[in-house]
């Protein structure tokens, strides 16, 4: 079947334009990171790995990259655990309260990151619970902004889940936990995997929260790049960007093998 032949030309032209807007800045970052010269010109002056090597030796950028990776890994573990548990309740409970909770848990997507960061910082200082400008305080912010993505992904796979499968396991003598582990968890595990990848990537690219929750020792890659961009366009930052781009593409390819990406957007 040839899909593209059926589509009218304005759609194709518009799609091409949209893809250019989406991808051109990413291509530019890759070119800037691999460029031989001190700054990017068109056409480029040639390829070189000098900025990639400079990135790997740079304490600021490479350190920030590793910090972001570690923070994202811990965030992912927490968000996936509590997000998956909550999704099971939210999709199975018939109560109106579950709908309200779902709305609450998804709301960090639209709450401005700068507002959430400020709110958390004010809360930490007001209550004096010792989380202001600490790793724990930053981690809490990251868990808040990544949970919605785990919930959206995992509950998409749970809607339409046939409960009788679990009941069949129960009637064959499995305990409730055993039935859950052997049947339900196995069926939803690809979605849990994809949700955790999303949580990882969202955390990795989180910038606005760091404005108030981070410090000089708690600097992730986005913040390090932001500081650098305010003053100059260091090609080292672009080289750091290449590593982030590769990470995102690998994660998306992995999650496309785990779940049907189409299903994610199918229920808005």
């Amino acid at each position: 079947m040839n899909d593209s032949a059926r589509l009218p030309w304005p759609i194709k032209l518009g799609s091409a334009l949209a893809l250019i807007v989406l991808l051109l800045p990413v291509v530019i970052v890759v070119l800037a990171g691999l460029n031989a010269g001190d700054y990017l010109t068109f056409p480029p002056q040639g390829l070189s790995l000098r900025w990639v090597i400079a990135f790997l030796q740079s304490e600021t950028f490479f350190g920030a990259y590793l910090f972001s990776l570690g923070l994202a890994a811990i965030t992912m573990a927490i968000s996936t655990a509590i997000g998956t548990m909550a999704s099971i309740y939210l999709t199975r409970s018939p109560s109106a309260g579950a709908k309200v909770m779902r709305g609450l848990f998804l709301s960090p997507i639209v709450l401005p990151g700068i507002v959430l960061g400020l709110a958390l910082y004010v809360f930490y200082v007001s209550t004096d619970i010792g989380l202001a400008r600490t790793f724990g305080g930053l981690l809490i912010g990251h868990v808040l902004v990544t949970c919605p993505f785990v919930i959206a992904t995992v509950s998409a796979s749970l809607v339409g889940f046939d409960l009788s499968l679990e009941e069949a396991a129960r009637s064959l003598g499995a305990g409730p936990l055993q039935a859950f582990r052997l049947v339900t968890l196995k069926i939803i595990s690809p979605a849990v995997g994809a949700g955790s990848i999303f949580a990882f990537i969202i955390s990795f690219g989180q910038f606005d929260l760091s404005l108030y929750l981070g410090t000089t020792n708690l600097t992730g890659l986005p913040y390090a790049m932001y500081i650098s961009l305010r003053y100059k366009f260091e090609p080292t930052a672009a080289a750091a960007g290449i590593f982030a781009i590769v990470l995102v593409i690998v994660s998306m390819v992995l999650s496309s093998r785990l779940i049907n990406l189409r299903k994610l957007v199918a229920r808005a």
């Binding site: 518009g14 991808l23 700054y39 700068i114 910038f207 404005l211 986005p222 189409r262």
Partner: protein, 306 residues
């Protein structure tokens, strides 16, 4: 887990659940407890404390909420054009951005929704999702290299002598809108795909077989049925664009004073936490207002159909 404790919790839970639903799925609610506690403590309380701080008397350098309940900060905001003008600036930039994102995003969403080949569909979805999930600051780096005074566009045009001085593409409102569109476009595309997919293809075929042109079919069948997705996408884009600090700071170069820039300026450069918190609450209120406008428009366009 401690067996005895589990058993007690289970009995209590079962009793209460039974009374409500008469069902033995007793411990189901336990699953949502960690998330609920986490959100109450670290989301609801902090947002409330931000409200409380915005109602405190302004004292430079003091962060903690005191509970004065005065309106000084809000009065100050609405008495100075420097501040209240930024509401209109923020709103019009965000409305422009959501309109452009809808125009740009619709064709791509339509293409993806109609692409049935699984490999090609997945490939396009990966492109959109990856560009959504890639750190915004990295994408802004690309935008800045493209649009700057010595950037790719201006640099190339200058070398070809097509222009005598650089076009003002960045560090102004144009740059902020361009940056916002780039950052928010994937969200628009994703919220459209699902809606376009759900439009029954036989409606389109019926219109065509009754003699409607391709354009008329689109204008009177497809577009009205896509409206819920377009509006939801525009709301999402509005919320993201109005609250993005990084786009306004980097693409606007501190020359475009939108609400997030004011917040950052007040808090980080002046230590005016109370006033900064008040602006944050105002930004929040702008987004809540946008939700109400969206619901009114959505109810109107649905026009009785759901």
């Amino acid at each position: 887990m401690d067996m005895a404790a589990t058993a007690t919790v289970e009995q209590t839970a079962r009793a209460s659940w039974r009374s409500a639903y008469g069902s033995p799925r007793s411990r189901l609610w336990l699953l949502v407890v960690p998330m609920t506690l986490f959100f109450i403590v670290f989301f609801v309380f902090p947002v409330l404390s931000l409200f409380a701080v915005s109602l405190d008397k302004p004292v430079a350098g003091v962060v903690a909420a005191k509970g004065d309940f005065v309106l000084n900060n809000y009065v100050r905001f609405f008495h100075q054009p420097l501040y209240y003008d930024s509401i209109f600036r923020t709103v019009w930039i965000s409305v422009a951005c959501s309109a452009i994102a809808a125009l740009l995003g619709y064709p791509l969403a339509y293409l993806i929704a109609k692409t049935e080949h699984p490999g090609r569909n997945t490939f396009l979805m990966i492109l959109v999702l990856a560009s959504m999930q890639l750190d915004g600051v990295i994408r802004l780096y690309g935008m800045m290299v493209l649009l700057g005074d010595n950037g790719l566009i201006n640099g190339t045009l200058l070398r070809w002598h097509a222009i005598d001085e650089p076009l003002p593409l960045m560090y102004n409102i144009f740059g902020v809108i361009a940056g916002d569109v780039q950052i928010t476009l994937p969200f628009m595309v994703l919220s459209l795909i699902g809606v376009i997919q759900r439009i029954n293809p036989s409606l389109e075929e019926a219109a065509r077989s009754l003699g409607a042109s391709r354009w008329a079919t689109f204008r009177y069948v497809i577009l009205p049925l896509s409206m819920p997705g377009i509006l939801a996408g525009m709301l999402l884009v509005f919320a993201l664009a109005s609250s993005s600090y990084s786009v306004a700071a980097l693409m606007g170069g501190w020359k475009v004073w939108v609400l997030p820039v004011h917040i950052y300026q007040q808090v980080s450069n002046g230590g005016h936490w109370q006033f900064g918190a008040a602006i944050a609450v105002i930004l929040f209120a702008v987004n809540i207002t946008a939700i109400f406008v969206y619901q009114a428009v959505a109810a109107r366009t649905a026009g009785g159909r759901v």
